[in-house]
Symmetry: C2
Subunit: 462 residues, 2 copies
């Protein structure tokens, strides 16, 4: 700790969810007389919902500013010294200081810290191929990216859009572009869309997307992006086909943005994310915390570390970090891998392990799939849903649930998320006292139907 200053200084690197939640929570617990807070953000914005970008592009959200939970001015009003458009370029751990560059002036300077929060987020994977940087090719990671894509859509006459990648961002961007009246083709490396699901469940997403008029191309690796005479994107090329495109959206995932941390010798995990303890302290570093898309988190079901970039985790991390820096006590125990998404009226949800995750960590399991409905079968708008459940061989412990269906399907995954956290077995789940009334559920909730079938299979094969 630097004793030459009267108060401690907290430096935060990264002005989105994790960083600014940490700063805000620390400020709530310690006033400016006790704690100085300096936050560096290389972009123009703070505390915004990157998850909301597809809905802004699609037109569901009309105003960019609605995606901003807290503006730079609001943070500054809380005595957080926020430096926008200022990128941290080096960490000096021994000297307890960070070097930052002002993007406008190019000036660099060192800022000392007593405590440091690393919340540098993730960076989109940009394919290393010809044309990937051509005008008309867009990522959707930041608000600036979203604005650039919207500008392109505004200017572009053609109505052919190609989305590369069929994960959450890919399917959400497919929906956004369908909503804007584009002909949408999704080019996907995997055998089915949504590789966060098992392929049999991804198949249901595939069929539903085609039903929505989206062209779904699986098992296709993009090899290059062609440009026209004007230098703009013209087509997306795979090994054996060419897809004409007036606009291309890349949704092929992200990786932790940890170059700074790596250069400073901080501990990184197998996925390239920072490794922390339960209090979100970087392992082995008493005064450095990290959270959000730049860290790996413990998967409570597999017992292994994973990289899961998701706003809800980033906010929780920030809350935990800020509490600990503020003199309180909080921990982040880990995740169970819950995610939910939609493409038009199709809802897609998962929690826990897929079949291949279970294999990978040495777990044997029974797998069942059932069909049910969101409401009592006789109630209007009862919509079908498919629930897949994995339970451990012998013990029957719940390992994972995947749900694909229409309205009312997605958030049912929360039942399984809590059960996973509690370590319940499928058998225990069969008697869960879930909310029942005809407009809300069949008399046996679909998750209970799956649990009954899974429990029976575990019994039958033990």
């Amino acid at each position: 700790m630097n004793m030459s200053r009267a108060r401690e200084r907290l430096v935060v690197i990264g002005g989105d969810a994790a960083g600014m939640s940490a700063a805000s929570q620390a400020r709530r617990l310690k006033g400016p007389g006790e704690l100085e807070i300096v936050a560096f953000e290389r972009g123009h914005f703070t505390s915004y919902s990157a998850c909301g970008i597809p809905y802004w592009v699609g037109g569901d959200v009309t105003d960019r500013d609605r995606l901003i939970a807290r503006t730079p001015e609001e943070h500054r009003a809380r005595d957080i010294d926020l430096r926008l458009r200022t990128e941290v370029t080096e960490l000096d751990l021994d000297g307890q200081r960070v070097r930052a560059r002002d993007a406008d002036t190019g000036e660099e300077s060192w800022t000392p810290y007593d405590r440091l929060v690393i919340a540098t987020g993730a960076q989109p994977i940009r394919p290393d191929m010809p044309g990937a940087d051509a005008p008309g090719v867009h990522g959707v990671q930041t608000l600036d990216d979203g604005q650039a894509l919207l500008d392109t859509l505004e200017r572009t006459r053609g109505r052919r859009a190609v989305v590369v990648g069929a994960g959450y961002i890919g399917v959400e961007m497919a929906e956004a572009l369908i909503n804007r009246g584009y002909e949408v083709t999704v080019v996907n490396r995997g055998s089915e869309p949504m590789s966060t699901l098992d392929p049999d469940m991804g198949r249901l997403v595939h069929e539903a997307m085609e039903g929505l008029g989206i062209t779904m191309v699986n098992d296709a690796e993009v090899t290059k992006i062609l440009t026209g005479g004007d230098g703009r994107v013209r087509a997306v090329v795979t090994e054996d086909r060419e897809f004409p495109a007036d606009v291309v959206v890349l949704g092929i995932g992200v990786r932790p943005e940890t170059a700074l941390a790596k250069a400073a010798g901080l501990p990184l995990g197998p996925h390239g994310g920072l490794l922390t303890d339960r209090s979100m302290r970087v392992r082995g570093h008493e005064d450095i915390w990290a959270g959000g898309d730049c860290v790996e988190v413990l998967d409570l079901v597999s017992g292994q570390d994973r990289h899961i970039p998701l706003g809800t985790h980033a906010n929780k991390h920030g809350q935990v970090i800020g509490t600990n820096i503020g003199g309180g006590y909080a921990t982040f125990p880990g995740v169970v891998g819950t995610a939910v998404s939609k493409v038009c009226d199709l809802e897609i949800a998962r929690t826990g392990l897929r079949e291949k995750d279970a294999h990978r960590v040495g777990l044997r399991f029974e797998s069942v799939t059932i069909e049910s409905t969101s409401r009592a079968g006789y109630y209007p708008n009862a919509s079908p849903m498919t629930v897949k459940m994995l339970a451990e061989h012998r013990t029957g412990r719940l390992l994972g649930v995947q749900i694909v269906g229409r309205e009312g399907a997605g958030k049912r995954v929360d039942i399984a998320a809590v059960a996973l956290t509690a370590g319940m077995t499928a058998e225990q789940m069969t008697t869960l006292d879930l909310g029942y009334a005809p407009p809300f559920s069949p008399v046996w909730d679909p998750v209970l139907v799956a649990a009954r079938k899974a429990a029976a299979k575990v019994r039958g094969t033990s």
Copy 2:
């Protein structure tokens, strides 16, 4: 066991959810060569959804038969000897036999059993007051009741409906009658509607019902029902007012139908329901099981027995009973008191203990109430919801959750239902990995917001 017959005989009393689930599950496990099944039902129907009656009356469900999950013919095709319109009038435990009367012929006869299932359900509380049996005054317990009400609605010119009682049936019937174009007045003995909620949450239901055009009259005890010159209902009278009525629906609750069981000396609990063990065997009786609306169930949160008539429990009881009779093993561990309902687009849900329940069983608690939305605030149709959470003083153990809101509010109670079952604390709940995406939830799910506030309050007051 009666050894004079080659196979065992199971006798089931009551042909709805619990009884016929038990019979069906027993049949699945034991064929007719091993087990004879005789089921007595005093009405015309089997295995129907009484919970669906308000939606049939309201017109959401157009066909009565859609409420029937399995017809008498379907049961008979599974070798269940189903005797409709036949009421069991006496249990002879020493003789292991039941006496039944055919409603059409009036004939009575004894049927011996090796194993007995009592699933006699519940009976509506009919107020003991003048006019309660007048034409135009209806209960909605059975399909026959529902048909009688529909016949009245068909015949009646007037458009003024009075619903007596503001519990689940009361508010659902208010919706049904509003949907049919009636002027609806709900007369309620309690201080707010939905006494299964704390009054502060019931107040929200009150306001919403008035917003829907329903006249809500609280703190009003009905003293008599007036009839006109034609003998039909004309008005509902309370101590100080008179409410003109062309039709009256009674929704003032039910009590366990256990007259037979009581006469036979079977053990009843404080609420008049049969007492069973975990396998749903009647306590002290090796060969008698009971389930559904005629039993009391263990409340896992309070540790005391309660009477909760609800189709989802009845189905689970039947499943457990049938499995045990069929030679398998299953238990019903108890309930946490989850219920969900709606009135038009207002969703109402609860699980666990209300404030007065906690007081009654000697639990001290902290209580918090928060406002949030069903989706990210910037996403279209994000609708407000109020979540109230009770957590035990010092330990922080979750005790109960109540939710009132619009679309997306009701089934969120399942998160708390599973957490209650698992014995989680509010603090543990703050890091639950729930499904997040802007169309499904704010970045902090409303239940997590409540958990954070409850955990903070527990810490602050410990």
